[in-house]
């Protein structure tokens, strides 16, 4: 296992974890742009643009793009979130160069008017689809309530109205600013020919013109709001709670992840025993989410509408007790075993490792091997967890409930 990195003169960074024993090669272009880089006039453009990159380039039609990925047998896709748009492919090692060439080409898309109008329909269908599935979309509404006017409160999908009104010119302008090579990292893992990777990046991305644009990192001013959204067709009631947590650059994020595992893992956690095992909730979880300059502890619960108020109270009680008494050494040890096993299992596939290697680089400009990551987890002490509990109180949160109830009683 060897880490290699290189930067092209235009600013594009290339990082790779090379493992000669792997069966496949995973490649990903990580573009540091997402909904937090949008404004009211461009709401949803990052995600829409991600779709448009697959619609063709000056030398390829959309059919060509799809066909060529399939001809390589690539396992490929793209996703957009609040601050990144990632394009990735896992291929057999012999296709490394072709995969880089194809991914690089689609990152300079034509953005043709006709394709834009056609894909608009697909995006609107995607918005409709999520709207029919109540738990989806609830996280965006809760983030909006928590972050208020801060850019991290913006919706990734946008709305039917914002997408309908978006112009192709606005997308082209956004693309020119945000897809600058200095804002992109090419990451790779698995069986990687690194010299070949750098040569390919030089050949296919070397002419990308840099453009100075930056993301403003403003401090978040979290809101404590309690809100219930009435969704008549829903059968279950869903609630999300957001509280402050460590940001992507904070060292206490490991302690936060262990804390989330102890309190809110989907099995065997305190919330599990309080809510799921007795049958009060279908699911409950606590997760840590990290952003640039901000972090969240996110609680999720789904249950019978009649149980929601009591469940929110049960959750609050679990958090109060943890803040008052901390967690036990035995709980911390169990959480470490779980996380260790998850890291090992997810790292066996190059395409699992790719996202860790890419995210470590774009957020922290650092590389950590699986062993180093495991050590970081092993080194967390009870004191570290207690410090996180006091620095980021879980009970101070924004809550959003969505489901058949018009009103939900907040916990006391």
């Amino acid at each position: 296992m060897e880490f290699r990195s290189h930067t092209l003169p235009n600013g594009l960074e290339i990082v790779a974890e090379c493992n000669g024993e792997a069966h496949s090669t995973a490649l990903g272009f990580f573009v540091k742009t997402g909904s937090r880089d949008e404004n009211d006039a461009t709401a949803g453009v990052s995600h829409f643009l991600e779709h448009m990159t697959f619609k063709g380039t000056p030398t390829r039609s959309a059919d060509d793009v799809n066909r060529e990925f399939d001809e390589m047998g690539a396992h490929y896709n793209a996703f957009t979130n609040e601050e990144n748009t990632v394009y990735y492919a896992a291929v057999l090692p012999e296709f490394q160069d072709h995969a880089v060439e194809l991914l690089a080409d689609i990152l300079r898309p034509s953005l043709r008017d006709d394709d834009f109008d056609m894909e608009k329909q697909v995006i609107i269908e995607e918005i409709h689809m999520y709207d029919d599935q109540p738990p989806f979309g609830a996280d965006e509404k809760c983030r909006a309530a928590y972050f208020g006017s801060h850019p991290l409160g913006r919706s990734v999908l946008g709305t039917v109205q914002s997408i309908t009104e978006l112009s192709v010119e606005a997308m082209r302008d956004y693309f020119a600013r945000r897809y600058s090579p200095g804002n992109v990292a090419l990451a790779a893992s698995g069986r990687v020919d690194f010299d070949g990777l750098v040569a390919a990046a030089r050949r296919y991305c070397g002419r990308w013109q840099p453009c100075a644009d930056s993301r403003r990192i403003e401090p978040a001013a979290p809101q404590a709001v309690f809100q219930a959204i009435h969704k008549e067709i829903a059968t279950q009631e869903y609630a999300l709670e957001l509280a402050e947590g460590p940001a992507a650059g904070d060292d206490d994020r490991y302690a936060a992840k262990l804390l989330a595992t102890v309190l809110g893992d989907d099995s065997g956690s305190r919330l599990y025993w309080e809510l799921v095992d007795p049958g009060w909730a279908e699911q409950v979880s606590l997760n840590h989410c990290e952003y640039e300059g901000a972090g969240l502890m996110m609680t999720y619960v789904s249950c019978d509408p009649e149980q929601i108020a009591e469940n929110l109270q049960r959750i609050l009680d679990v958090y109060r007790r943890a803040e008052a008494e901390g967690i036990t050494a035995a709980e911390l040890k169990t959480a470490k075993s779980k996380i260790r096993s998850r890291i090992v299992l997810s790292s066996e596939r190059p395409r699992g490792r790719l996202f860790t290697v890419g995210a470590d680089w774009i957020y922290r400009r650092e590389y950590r091997s699986v062993e180093e990551d495991l050590e970081k987890v092993a080194d967390v002490t009870l004191d570290d967890v207690t410090a996180v509990l006091s620095k980021y109180p879980l009970r101070r949160s924004t809550t959003l409930a969505i489901g058949p109830l018009a009103d939900v009683c907040p916990p006391r």
Partner: protein
Amino acid sequence: MTEPILSHVLPNGLALVAEPIASLQSAAFTFLVPAGCVHDPGKLSGLSGFTCEMALRGAGDRDSRQFVLDLDNLGVERHESVSAAHTGFSGATVAENLPAALAIFADLLRRPHLPADQVEAGRLVMFHELRAVEDEPTQKVMIELRRRHYPEPWGRPSQGEQQALETIAIDDIRGHVQRCYHPNGAIVGVAGRFEFERLKDCIGELFGDWRPCDVAPIRERAPDCRYEHLVYDSNQTQIGIAYACVPYRDPDYLKAWGAVGVLSGGSSSRLFTEVRERRGLCYAVHATCHTLRDRGGVFCYAGTSADRAQETLDVTLAELNRLAAGIEDHELQRLKARIKSALIMQQESSSARSSALARDWYHLGRARTLDEVSSLIDALTCESINAYLAERPPGDFTFVTLGRRELEVPVGVS
């Protein structure tokens, strides 16, 4: 190229099928117990699922908390599922913890407590599962489609029905374990880092004295409905279309599977291209092969806004019918590339391999190595697939739609 597959059948019928993969740090296992929902008595639909839920609530000398805690301390990522034929229990963890994890699962399968004082909690868990499906129209339409495509009880949903779940008592659950949790017909697939002889001994010690028992025959009843519309006040209309396909163990299966791959595998497939890319009709459209032991089906899905639903159905159906005219060589070449790549990448996951081994054993009575699958794929030709399609063209469709308005469906026309 790939590792050999080793197997051993205990005298009581439990089959161990294993693939050591030295390049992995993990080991994974999949138990398939012949306790699928086809064995639910008619008035107790959901009994298999309920039993699975209760089996996790303590076994051997562990109560339910200790059971979960010990698996967590071993870092076991676990998953349970109930299908028509089986209840499946699977787990994956770092390799050194495999024997200890298997011992806990032996308790679960052979000595579950099934505590009477937790049956109401278990019932609530089952109700939650039912309600969760109601909020996922995509899943709901496919569940209803399967129910109408296969003869009863093979198309049953594992979640059961509210009324039946209300009446299930702890004795029903205990009886179900006695009748269905037995070694004859049970399979354990194991993949990852381990030494086979030691694994074989371990399985022998844990399960050697598990006693087999008789299996009741399944009575079938043909489905009677070809189109059903479920009224639902949603933005989108969900469309499900099914037609018959040979099962996995049929010599023609890979041809049928290949044809469905051309229809819906990758972004250059016919459905994605014609329904989404060319017409922008929907975000999600796909088709997959599903197999039982003696029959199979191709299940297609599309979800779109109500006012475009009829066009989506028509275009999707036209693609299904066009398949009868055959596939082209360039489509087959892309299909082969995707399958080859997927097979090689399957070696990177112990979980994926362990479930594939157990599934193979159930359907074929043996497991295929990845090399063997690879040569079967190499042997596929356009001519062989097209001959299959000419003989068994998509047709005699079953439809289920869910949304505000019913659609016009050519029932009885293929």
